[in-house]
Symmetry: C2
Subunit: 141 residues, 2 copies
DNA sequence: GCTTGACCTTCTAGTTACTGTAAGGCTTAG
DNA sequence: CTAAGCCTTACAGTAACTAGAAGGTCAAGC
């Protein structure tokens, strides 16, 4: 299997697969007489695993750990559980942060007159000129 | 005012301020006889504005636009409103994506036996070996 | 045999928004 | 005079790719 085929099957770009090889996330495959990389079904499995893990928000180093567990028949499932629940905590925190940002943005949208005039409470808020602003402090009325 | 003072007042790192100058986000300040940058209150205003905008999730180019509007007394508030409501839409989309990821992670955490055995449904799911998995497809029961 | 297009290869550089580090000059207190 | 604590520039590194250049290989069609 050449790289474009394994790319199609795994859902990753060929460039990404070469990149994963270059950072030792993936073992380098054998090469054909022409120098082309030759992949097998097991490689597709691993690349799918990596794609999924990345989609779940694991970074490359975390993928490295997950992959080691994946390959290790002596793993303990608690180790996997730990990695995933840590990630869950992390994503939860991120969502909360973004939620707070979203609420503030929504308030900004609400206070802008949205007309042809220059006067704009958003600008005032961002410049910190209305430090006591109900919007920023969330002290609505 | 030297850079460390304006940094303290604006809440940005001195490095960041120099960086903003280097990418023409900020006008270069006058220099003292010793070559040091000298800032004024207006610079603090602008840097606060930028810090706030960045915290709201605007990227550098969007900050450029916002800053231009901030500086322009002939601006129309609709322009500001547009930028902010676009950002709101963007953040909302991001939150929805993360929420989906969070739910999937939570399901993964739920299916892992979390013990000393190697058997782990998380690994199976990530490797795509349980393609019909209720977890992945979200077909709960 | 030749061309064309789709593959494949390596290498370098660009992306975002900084941050770290090095190497050196300025300022001020002791 | 020296030491700490500022300031300067310039270069490199971060994460995870992505784009592009320059060139080799392969299969099909004429």
């Amino acid at each position: 299997m050449n790289i474009s085929e394994v790319a199609k099957l795994s859902g990753l770009a060929a460039k990404t697969i070469r990149y994963y090889e270059s950072i030792d996330l993936m073992d380098p495959p054998r090469r054909g007489a022409n120098g082309y990389r030759r992949y097998h079904d097991g490689d597709v499995q691993i690349l799918c695993f990596l794609r999924q893990a990345r989609q779940f928000g694991f970074n490359i180093d975390q993928c490295r750990l997950l992959l080691a567990l994946y390959k290790n028949p002596q793993r303990r499932s608690t180790e996997v559980h730990q990695l995933v629940s840590d990630k869950l905590t992390e994503v939860d925190a991120h969502i909360r942060e973004l939620g707070a940002t979203r609420d503030l943005l929504a308030q900004l949208v609400g206070v802008c007159p949205n007309n042809e005039e220059a006067d704009c409470a958003i600008i005032d808020t961002l410049s910190g000129q209305s430090e006591q602003s109900q919007v920023v402090k969330g002290v609505e009325s």
